[in-house]
Amino acid sequence: MALRTLVTGVHILVVDDFVLVELALAQVIQDTAHTLVGVRDPRNLPEALSEGPRFDLALVDINFGPGAPTGLTAMRILTELSPETKIVIESTDEERNRLLFLLASFAFFEPLALLSKASPAEAVRALIDAVDRGDRTGPGFAAPDGGIGPRPPTPVDRLVRNKGCLDELIRNGTDLMLWRALVRFDKRGEVARAAHVDERTVDRFTASKSLVVDKIQAEFPEDASAPAARDDPDGPRRNPNLVRLARFAQTHSHFFADQAIDGLFAARWQAPRPRQRRSWR
């Protein structure tokens, strides 16, 4: 493996709209055998993947600016067209609205690791070298089981352990329509009208999703988009839990607006579900 490192290194694809990220990474791998190509927009990935040798590693950003597809589209294209390419998500720590994107990334694509854009050059190089060695024990790498063990969970462990929350958050197409309506409305009747459902469906949605949001916020306290429900000055006109869910939806509006999630979830809903053994106790 060491010989391979010397001779070939890791062929890296950087999928990031900011060319400075590519230039900075190029400096990090300067004087190593690793090579690097950059793509600014996920829509250019098919072209990039069709040219030259296959990529060993793709560093994928989440956000590509207004109007552009997100990292979920990039990961879907990579998984379809180059399944052998290992994916590492690179993200800015400060982005509050990235949590659902990260959960979706781990739920649908099983990326190898999460790399902070604030990571020092040594950490980035260590991660690339570890990928080259096939060593997946370093910081930032995702353990398949979410790192169950004595050590405190890392941010990646928490994402892997809680990726199931996303399925609870969006169980079907109606849930998705309701989340999208909640981005723009926070009254029961308006949400029902905008999502084309009856108000009892909104009530059931509010009750069940409040529990999921509670769970997410307990696991990820840094995501303070939907503080616990309080008495609302508007009185009975507004359901405090619904207002809270609306705040959560607004914080993650970029995620709910992403067309990529329609396809990803639709494929999951259509897939046959494993039959659960019935318990008689």
Binding site: D17, F18, V19, L20, L23, A26, G38, V39, R40, D41, N44, E47, A48, R184, F185, K187, R188, G189, E190, A192, R193, A194, A195, H196, V197, D198, E199, R200
Partner: protein
């Protein structure tokens, strides 16, 4: 005007969904009042026709009751979970169709019910004799009901839904809805029968005026859309104000922070050129974010936008000498090329004015090779100044030009500096346009 799709926007749809909820509730109550009035008028009907008249009012009564229940979520919920299967089914249906542009039970019952109710006053099975005031009051109540119901149809939120636009045929028919409804009402009233036109209790004028008034739904809807358009414009203006305020925040927070950082780095002898360049680029990025937030400026990824941002890094008294070639301004670049130009141009311009140049001429071009038009074009950034010329030893040390040169090697490019005839320097940064 009513077929115009410019109102089918997210903002207008959001407004429409918001007004629909209270207006539907008020409308259902109003139509309920109209139908109650029709029941009261039965007191002046001939006794022998009362069973027929009551039967003819049943359908519209059920329709307005259903429409009212539809606006009462709690009542609907109770019915939907009640013991009577038929009511449970009807309530479920009413819940399911709310907010959809579709024919629902309440609408059908009200529509056909009102046609049947109108037959009490006109057409082949009209009740006679009726006192003229009762006849006129009945027609007024029916017309008021129709007015309200179709005002709701004409201003329904679904006309403005950008995600699920109504069918093209429906949009084309929309301006004709009031005339069609008016024609149906007139046809019913003057239909041949024992109540022919000459035998109408109040003559033809009052029924014609009342039915004809339904055509006014068209200008009513147009006025409604004028208000919606005004709301949309007001919203856009408010949005602009918010953007301007936000851009001031970006300016004061990010730019002041960037200036403090740049001052610190300039004072730090240990900071290398790359660090200094990246710190300077913070100003460019903050200005670009500010301009994009404001909107209305040069389009994204154009040289015009980049140049406006670069000028912000030049001291005010030097900006007059910074000249961008007119042809370069409109050049739209690919994302990577724009990113590279954003990395290169500020450094070259800063080097020029810091070296003492009073006039700096900049051009950005993108050229295809004549020999191979299919090949990726070359992008060239040229910065020519009237400064003192190059120092003697730039090539070996890690100057900003050397760093840029390293970066551009990744794109088959390079940075070349040359002395200009007559004094000054011309620096050319050139690279092959990135495919992605």
């Amino acid at each position: 005007m009513l077929s115009d799709s410019s109102l089918r926007t997210r903002v207008v749809y959001d407004i429409a969904v918001r007004y629909a909820t209270p207006l539907w509730r008020i409308g259902a109550a109003f139509r309920g009042g109209c139908v109650a009035g029709l029941w009261i008028l039965l007191a002046w009907f001939p006794a022998r026709s009362l069973p027929q008249a009551a039967a003819q009012l049943l359908m519209v009564s059920a329709g307005v009751a259903a429409a009212w229940i539809q606006t009462q979520p709690d009542t609907l919920d109770r019915l939907a979970s009640g013991r009577i299967a038929a009511l449970r089914k009807a309530a479920g249906h009413l819940q399911g169709v709310r907010g959809r542009a579709t024919a629902d039970l309440a609408g059908l019952l009200e529509g056909f019910g009102m046609i049947v109710a109108l037959l009490l006053y006109g057409g082949p099975i009209a009740v006679r004799p009726l006192p003229t005031p009762v006849y006129v009051a009945g027609l007024i109540l029916i017309t008021a009901h129709v007015w309200n119901a179709f005002a709701q149809v004409m201003t329904d939120a679904s006309w403005y839904n950008p995600d699920m636009p109504p069918a093209a045929g429906l949009v084309a028919f929309r301006p004709w809805i009031p005339a069609t409804v008016a024609a149906i009402e007139i046809a019913e009233i003057v239909a041949p029968g024992h109540s022919a036109a000459s035998r109408l209790p109040a003559g033809l004028v009052i029924p014609l005026i009342l039915a004809g008034s339904i055509v006014l739904l068209l200008p009513f809807t147009m006025v409604f859309e004028v208000l919606l358009r005004a709301g949309l414009e007001a919203c856009e203006i408010s949005m602009g104000e918010v953007r301007r305020n936000d851009s001031i925040t970006v300016h004061s927070l990010v730019k002041n922070g960037a200036h403090a950082l740049i001052r610190q780095i300039q004072a730090d002898a240990g900071a290398d050129r790359e660090t200094r360049s990246l710190a300077d680029s913070m100003l460019i990025l903050a200005e670009e974010a500010r301009q994009m937030m404001l909107g209305g400026g040069p389009p994204a990824e154009t040289v015009a936008l980049l140049w406006d941002c670069v000028l912000q890094t030049v001291p005010g008294d030097r900006r007059g000498g910074m000249i961008l070639d007119a042809g370069s301004r409109e050049l739209q670049m690919r994302k990577t090329d724009y990113g590279l130009a954003r990395r290169v141009l500020p450094d070259l311009v800063t080097n020029a004015w810091k070296a003492g140049a009073r006039r700096v001429e900049v051009a950005v071009t993108q050229e295809r090779q004549h020999a191979n038009p299919a090949a990726r074009p070359w992008v060239t950034v040229s910065v020519a100044d009237d400064g003192p010329g190059l120092p003697a030893q730039p090539a070996v040390t890690r100057t900003s030009l050397r760093i840029l040169d390293d970066h551009l090697h990744r794109f088959d490019g390079a940075v070349v500096a040359e002395r200009r005839d007559g004094g000054g320097t011309r620096v050319l940064a050139r690279w092959r346009s990135a495919p992605w």
